[in-house]
Amino acid sequence: MFKKTILSVALTTLLSQPFYTFAAESSDLQALRSEMAQLKLQYQQLEKRLQQAEVNAQQAQAGSQQAVVASQQAVEVARTQTVPSSSPAASSEGAFNPAMSLILAGTYGQVKQSPAIPATGFAMNSNPGHQQGFNLGESELGITANIDPQFRGVATMALAPAGGITVENAFVQNSGLGNGLNLKFGRFFSGLGYLNEQHAHAWDFVDQPLVYATLWNNQIGEDGVQLKWLAPTDMFIELGGEIGRGRSFPATDRQNRNGTGAGTIFAHIGDDIGFEHSWRAGASLYDTKRVNAASAGVPDLLGTVGGVNTQFSGDSRTMGLDFVWKYSPNGNTANRYFKVQGEYFSRRETGMLTYNAAVTDTFSNTQSGWYLQSVYQFMPHWRAGMRYDQLNPGTATVGVLNAGNVISNYAFKPTRTSVMLDYSPSEFSRLRLQLANDQSRQGLTDNQLFIQYIMSLGAHGAHQY
């Protein structure tokens, strides 16, 4: 109890600050505010309608209530009277408004090294890095509703800390095809791996594993079509495939051109062992053709200060393996549970590399990485977790022309160890403390501290496994 108080005081003090910092900051915030005000207004109107609907429902029920009492008193009567359904048929059009949810999340980040420095050997990859100081993190607005008996629509808008709104998800799903088929189209998170489909507010750590950061720029989203098929077996066996324009890293976005830019296939299997254990394992393959993928600040053999620019064109194929195992005493996850998950990705790239906009020759490399993490809910509302990350930059085969320019072997394996503790006062709120020892950049050990809040307002949809 004492520890809890200290933590709450510390968090409150820390969390009460960002509001000042931001108040004076930008006009974008003003725009965001007015949008929020409009949302609030809409919400209030919706609430009014809801209250009216409830009053109507109660009046309707008053009659049926008497019928129930009567029927319950007449217990000896052999046949019961059917009790009218208690769910009111609201006629107001407002009742069809989509479910809205707003995730308010923010972090305070303290790191020693510049987040702009990529992991050693991964300068040609994505580097989402971390935000320092107070920041809004992954706040997002979600809107969901059934469109008709066939289709369901989902939109998730991420509220960028610097202002502006980006469309994270905007897809239509058809679960009514039958025969285990599930169709999704629009913008969605790819179904590859285990973590990729999870939204930031459902992550067990403040950040994604290094392998996700460097190989998928945290999370791979696609504009395209996904088809999944679930086998009619007792064990969960799911096969899926996606094609899309290759909107995000490592793909180079086949915008305004015919055809597709990337394709994914994946398979998942899973089951229970008794009623206390459950697991899921998967394999995935992602394929894209990269065109003029530019990188800046890539270290070279000549030791050019600030690095050089490179451009890569060629085939990129990533295979992945993932598993998760969960255990909870009596199968009751509300009290205590333990989960272990791990993923491995390996990417093979073959093509032409242009060094410093001057020398072009063949280049091929295989990069890989994995993480293993476990989270333990040791008592209701409290969880602790630990994660180990490792990357392998691979040994590149570099064409003769660039053999003196491009580094083929970094002889360093980036690693990171993170621990976290989180407290969830309710299902709708979570406060988290995370510490990490980051050895992902050679010679630049980084000790990182993050404090995070994740709050869920409005409708809160069910989470995936």
Binding site: T82, S87, P149, G178, N182, N332, A334, P380, E427, A462
Partner: protein, 340 residues
């Protein structure tokens, strides 16, 4: 807790259920095989494969039920008898609010043609994902294969104002409808109609099962209400606001809850305020559901000298609660023991 949970296993089938029919098919198949002209090892293999396929399709032909909670599995078993194969998604020691959308559940929902759940948002954290991911058009919301028990009963504790400042409230009312035995009558009625709708060929059988159930349940209600007479007007403390239907049925009075708001962890100061309340309104017992953490109940029971009563809450929640009838027998026995 050394209890044995039936958990995700379906309730033990009666001798006449599913399996009996299975034997019939085996017999028929053997009979057919004897009359075929083909012989030899290859043919045997083909027949074995066909046999597998055949039994596989028969599993689809009967009503394949995915029951969210053990009480609905038990009720469906009584009403559908041999015509149903039933999978129970949660065990009595699992909190039905907080089940995960596990792969196994999705696989089971894939093959179901009837989903029987409580509704009223009890399963809102997991059922929507399971139905969506199952790719099974027969059990989607609004279809004949989607049955919610809460739609057949009068809901209690329906909030007039929805605000999460009041904790984890359910917009549709308190979902723990299975604690009032009387609720099973209208639910059985509606569920039986649904079985007839899905499997009209066996409607006479379902109607007969319903008539038998109604007769036995009415008799049991008379017995239970007589037994429960001493509980009328008794003050109780609850660990979670999960008993309004039980209280309404038996006439017990809830003085306070150990959760300051539904789903919220009690603080030390809140528990002390409960202790103060108990000085003004003494109670005999503090009750909780079998799946709930025993510690809060035991903490207050020790300090206020109360009986901590763990009710089975659903079929399988105690060693004695093996079916719907014994569920209420044991519930009443536990409550009456708590009076002493």
């Amino acid at each position: 807790m050394a209890r044995i949970s039936i958990s995700s296993l379906p309730p033990s089938p009666s001798p006449t259920s599913g399996r009996g029919e299975f034997n019939g098919i085996v017999y028929k198949m053997k009979h057919q095989i004897q009359h075929t002209e083909f012989k030899g090892k290859i043919m045997k293999k083909i027949v074995a494969v066909l046999f597998l396929l055949f039994t596989h399709t028969t599993a689809h032909a009967e009503v394949n039920v995915f029951a969210c909670e053990p009480e609905w599995a038990a009720l469906t078993q009584l009403l559908a008898g041999k015509q149903a194969t039933i999978y129970t998604a949660t065990g009595a020691l699992q909190d039905p609010h907080r089940v995960e959308a596990r792969p196994s559940l999705i696989a089971k929902a894939r093959r179901a043609n009837l989903v029987v759940c409580t509704g009223a948002e009890l399963e809102v954290a997991w059922l929507p994902v399971i139905l969506r991911e199952s790719g099974n058009s027969a059990v989607q919301v609004g279809s004949a294969g989607y049955f919610l028990a809460a739609q057949s009963v009068k809901m209690l504790d329906v909030p007039t104002h929805l605000d999460r400042a009041n904790g984890d409230v359910h917009a549709g009312g308190n979902p723990h409808i299975q604690t009032d035995a009387r609720n099973f009558l209208p639910i059985a009625d509606a569920l039986s109609k649904r079985l007839v709708q899905l499997d009209p060929a066996n409607s006479a059988y379902y109607q007969q099962q319903l008539a038998t159930f109604n007769q036995q349940w009415h008799a049991a209600l008379v017995k239970w209400e007589k037994q429960a007479a001493p509980l009328q007007g008794v003050s109780i403390l609850v660990q979670h606001d999960g008993f309004p239907y039980l209280n309404q049925w038996l006439g017990m009075k809830q003085i306070a809850s150990l959760e300051p708001k539904p789903g919220m962890e009690p603080s030390a100061s809140y528990l002390n305020s409960v202790l103060t309340t108990l000085q003004q309104h003494p109670v005999k017992m503090v009750i909780r559901a079998a799946y709930q953490d025993a510690r809060p109940s035991e903490w207050i029971a020790e300090r206020a000298h109360l009986h901590a009563v763990a009710l089975p809450y659903t079929v399988g929640g105690s060693d004695k609660a093996i079916d719907l009838f014994s569920l209420f027998d044991d519930t009443l026995a536990q409550l009456l023991a708590g009076l002493k």
